[in-house]
Symmetry: D2
Subunit: 264 residues, 4 copies
Amino acid sequence: MKMKGSSIFTYDVYAPTTVTTMLRPRRQEGQAIIQEGFTIEPPVPFSEYIDIYGNLCQRAVLPVGHVTISTEVQAQVNPLKPIPDPKPAYMLVGDLPEDVMHFILPSRYCQSDLHEINMLALEIAGNLTPGYDQVEAIRTWIHQNVRYQYGFTDASTTAFDTARSRVGVCRDFTHLAIALCRNLCIPTRMTVGYLDKLKEMDLHAWFEVFIGGDWYTFDAVQEKTEGYRIEIAHGRDAADVAMVTQYGNAALQSLHVAVDLLEN
Amino acid sequence: MKMKGSSIFTYDVYAPTTVTTMLRPRRQEGQAIIQEGFTIEPPVPFSEYIDIYGNLCQRAVLPVGHVTISTEVQAQVNPLKPIPDPKPAYMLVGDLPEDVMHFILPSRYCQSDLHEINMLALEIAGNLTPGYDQVEAIRTWIHQNVRYQYGFTDASTTAFDTARSRVGVCRDFTHLAIALCRNLCIPTRMTVGYLDKLKEMDLHAWFEVFIGGDWYTFDAVQEKTEGYRIEIAHGRDAADVAMVTQYGNAALQSLHVAVDLLEN
Amino acid sequence: MKMKGSSIFTYDVYAPTTVTTMLRPRRQEGQAIIQEGFTIEPPVPFSEYIDIYGNLCQRAVLPVGHVTISTEVQAQVNPLKPIPDPKPAYMLVGDLPEDVMHFILPSRYCQSDLHEINMLALEIAGNLTPGYDQVEAIRTWIHQNVRYQYGFTDASTTAFDTARSRVGVCRDFTHLAIALCRNLCIPTRMTVGYLDKLKEMDLHAWFEVFIGGDWYTFDAVQEKTEGYRIEIAHGRDAADVAMVTQYGNAALQSLHVAVDLLEN
Amino acid sequence: MKMKGSSIFTYDVYAPTTVTTMLRPRRQEGQAIIQEGFTIEPPVPFSEYIDIYGNLCQRAVLPVGHVTISTEVQAQVNPLKPIPDPKPAYMLVGDLPEDVMHFILPSRYCQSDLHEINMLALEIAGNLTPGYDQVEAIRTWIHQNVRYQYGFTDASTTAFDTARSRVGVCRDFTHLAIALCRNLCIPTRMTVGYLDKLKEMDLHAWFEVFIGGDWYTFDAVQEKTEGYRIEIAHGRDAADVAMVTQYGNAALQSLHVAVDLLEN
């Protein structure tokens, strides 16, 4: 499916402000990037690098005044990898590939090592077949038990907080899912990007889980994981995949996101 | 200086237990590894890999019963890199090398993004010359204001907790220092290994800071950062450099650590 | 300077043919990619990955018939890094950063270990100050002693061949320069991309040399290294940075390259 | 199987000579390193790093005089991975994992792109089932048609040379096998290390081939690939895995290698 995504961030910058951004698509299997662009207005120099997770990262110093950062991407994307039958099984920690071991560790917003997280993971998934069934039960539980609401949580809200408050947005749903899965020793990472069919158009966050020898996509915000996606970045949690991080005095005035499916 | 370190972990294992360990020395500038070994008794197979930070990691399944994991290393180590004069300066985020950007992000135990951490960082170092002076002020403040005491904190204690409780061990001192430095946008990582001159002989944790274009060693447990060290692992915080992580039912019975300086 | 490059490859494909390409710009310091695209006509799926050198690589299976691969890029590029005074010095092998060590090794088309290459390197640069002066002497010698001529060399021509024949194109000039510099233990890599001011418009190859602690650009085809460049890929030699590699039965019918400097 | 390997290099050094060495065991699946050491006599500082292939590399400046470099390793090693039935199949280039793509490229001593190599590969394996059968036919052909003889080849001998001369040592056998396999688009790498059962005790070189989704060991020197091995380094060819590279004036006086199988 050919898919298009774009986002425009508008800032009022009060003092020259360094920003790091992750706003361009990842280069990977399953999404063929046909066209993509990144512009800052007024134009300022920016530099790029590839981080430890393979994400494309940009750095710039925004000048004082009204500044927009615009990105757009057109990609040919695969449908979601179907869940095979029999369902992907749990892999013992000793059998996991080396490069996924990183994703069973606790992280800033996903405190998978806490007792409360363990209690909740066991309550939701303790009696299920290890692997896919556990992950899907966690995803469904969050979808049904956490209320989707803007404005309740902020950038410092963690999985532990959401396990208690049971309110949040896609980022919080995802953090809680990650913490619960990792508590069961299932490698899990956060992915951000574009999703078609999102009700309120925005950049989105979901999670990917390594079971049965492969990564699968899960989305706790949706009733059922579905839709075409363009991945922008993945990492341990929101600390790794912040779309814009600012070091200075600037205020985000607006964010416009558009996602379209084009002819196949 | 020729230096020797060894550690012996003794476990009672109640069910076959997978462990991952980081107990062998890093291969890097400044420490020439002359001899090193790693043995599990009774002997079981183990495998090794190199993680995202260049740490050597081991995995094994411990059998039921009494199990010891023993490691030892002999290395020729450099003295601590001296602090040049003028002192290493703060580098703007926009000027940092790509590969240190990872170490200004908040992490599991170092919530550098929290308001309370920001308040404390500004209180300690807000009026100082950015760079070395800030880091040394943070280190000194922690040494003077946090009480070194075993048993008060545990594996889930964070920098935020220690900022409040002001009690902890080397791990907690280090986490707090990392959170405070990162809050000032100074790349900081946790390092674990052997230190000579430690009063109660144990494996030790300290922090390294990227200022003036290079990494420097700081130790908040010591009155003054000093002593020869063998580095075993480094990463964002204790989540990345856990010396032994166990997935199963086993109890650590004892840990013996020895560090000796040999003839130069 | 804002700069635009594009290339269109046209193939007649006689049997389904897998191709790997390196045709998109590198993401790095010094070139800010504003817009870039990659299309295959008729459209076929392609996948992407990032290789060991940080180059973006694409893979696709070209269908039978007439196929075009088109790419274009708009970037804000820095001028060439100026050569400081005093000139960048030779670094002892023992002092080189770890990640440049790879680029003193001989490679497929740059047999820096051969006696003939050593003789020529000593003849050209043996009496000069180690470092920049040697590299510039090698560059100038090649420019003056190797005749630029299409059709004489092919994809299997090596630096050793060119040292004898003294005829070739940008690829051959570059391979010979690399072999000679590496013979003097100077880390050197091949870079391919767009250069403005090229007489016959084409994709171009040049070399980068690590002296005095940094990478500098050199071009043996030019009388004097100059012009704005967009880097597409770098590696040890043409084996690493082949713009299109085909595994199957297809014939390149035409290649059109355009490079423009836009308003600053 | 518990296995022990050691090597002692003796040099007469006429001027301070920088050396880079790869003499310590790789850290990887299938070989558990129990004990290992590296010493230079007289003692001089050395530093270590991990190269692009995960090999441990050492650097030192050898002082004038008589110098020995000694290494030893004890490891628990797995038997050779058995060849499954049905035999591991050929994978299309488009289906290969990203990280093995590097190993289908031609390299310094393995000119898999040459016409003569292609002719020979087709002659040996052109009519066979793509995959394992081709690799084993190449291995057997080399074993039967290349004469094992010391002193005929040197450090600059390539696969192309050996295809003509049909004389060489383990390094030459391996280079020819790699060039032929890569010509058939089969990812192949060179591995060096210790092999038990070698008639004249020496460090040894063999090749590993990626077929059917996994790496398998092949040895063209042996009548049948067999024996326990400790891997020290792997890479594209001998340029990447040179056990000792010297930059200066020093002469190797002797090399003693010992390999022993210990009780299981």
